[in-house]
């Protein structure tokens, strides 16, 4: 019964998720070699060469990886800490509802909100002024559109942490981590050992595929870095859309080159994650 349902699911997933995706990929591939596109005149590798030589893609990839990685590491650590410290308190209906709320904020609104708070004439800057710490807006530190992506990372953390918190709380309950922890303590482990050797490994083992996927998701995030990022380097999606929407029609294909490379990297990563996960399930 269950396997039948999941077969139908996979057919659906194939039809809706994979087929258009695959067709779009082929289209982008053709576009990147100049084989389709009203302003293109036939097969050429010049767009690939020019993207490679400009180095913009590599910088963008490194930058995106660093931003997404930092955000995920901080969010997961924070969510784990909250789970282990506050799981009982968070079972209170009001509190668990409050933890769900941030999930309702779309990325673009969250980015706008961060901007309103952290910009040089934003909420915190005004408070700093009221306390006399600064006398002019420009003395307030760079927290949005800044070189270290502080604004982007802060926004990602505020969006991602509630998600992981809910996930960990669920896993904690379903995997009976509570009982396991009690067992290990009754066998003589101290609190520290229980956390590091039992609770954390169980939680992470059950969720790391999802953590990996979320990392990929952040790697391709668009609105948040669009609003809070710098003009250079830019995160991957921002770079792709900029290239595809540029005024110079003869160079649109460069955007498709970046899109193709990005898609290959992300798809490979996703496939690896899923196949590894299946192995684990068979062992278990």
């Amino acid at each position: 019964m269950k396997s039948k349902a999941s077969n139908i699911g996979f057919i659906f997933f194939g039809l809706i998720g994979i087929l258009p995706f695959f067709a779009a990929f082929i289209y982008a591939l053709l576009y990147s070699f100049g084989m389709v596109g009203a302003a293109n005149s036939g097969f050429t590798t010049e767009f690939w060469v020019s993207i490679w030589q400009s180095g913009a893609f590599l910088r963008s990839l490194v930058y995106s990886t660093a931003v997404a990685g930092t955000s995920i590491i901080i969010s997961v650590s924070l969510a784990l800490w909250l789970t282990l410290k506050f799981r009982k308190e968070l079972e209170v209906p009001f509190l668990s509802f409050a933890m769900y709320l941030p999930l309702a904020i779309p990325g673009i609104v969250a980015a706008f909100f961060t901007f309103q708070l952290l910009a040089k004439a934003g909420f915190f800057s005004r408070i700093a002024y009221a306390f006399g710490w600064i006398t002019e807006a420009r003395q307030f530190p760079d927290l949005v559109n800044d070189p270290y992506a502080i604004g982007i990372i802060a926004t990602f953390i505020s969006i991602v942490t509630p998600f992981f918190l809910l996930l960990f709380l669920n896993v904690y309950k379903n995997e009976r981590v509570e009982e396991l922890a009690q067992l290990s303590q009754s066998l003589g482990a101290n609190k520290q050992q229980t956390v590091w050797r039992v609770s954390l490994p169980v939680l992470l083992n059950k969720t790391w595929t999802l953590i990996g996927l979320y990392f990929i998701f952040l790697l391709g995030a668009y609105e948040v870095p669009l609003i809070l990022g710098q003009e250079s380097p830019q995160m991957l999606s921002v770079l792709i859309i900029r290239e595809i929407k540029q005024y110079d029609l003869s160079r649109l294909s460069e955007g498709y080159v970046v899109a193709v490379i990005y898609t290959v990297i992300v798809t490979t990563a996703a496939v690896l994650l899923f196949s590894r996960k299946n192995d684990v399930r068979h062992e278990g």
Binding site: G9, F13, L95, A98, A121
Partner: protein
């Protein structure tokens, strides 16, 4: 003592969650709010009136969004 610390922390967390909603609501009703004023010079429903009177696509786009998210959520749960 320990319980107090936790209570305090959770309280701060709840405020942290509710603050954005309250602040966005405030922003939607504020205008004429220049640095370094802590409170806007105008506070009222002017922005809301303007959006309701001139942005005709708002309601239909809301329904489209709701329909799409319901579809995605249903499918994801079924699968």
């Amino acid at each position: 003592m320990k319980a107090n610390w936790k209570l305090f922390f959770l309280g701060a967390l709840v405020i942290l969650v509710i603050f954005p909603f309250a602040y966005l609501l405030l922003l939607s009703m504020a205008s004429e709010w220049r640095f370094p004023a802590l409170w806007p010079s105008y506070f009222g429903l002017r922005n809301w009136e303007q959006v309701v009177s001139s942005e005709t696509g708002l309601i239909s786009s809301f329904f489209v969004s709701t329909a799409i998210s319901t579809c995605v959520a249903t499918m994801a749960t079924l699968i």
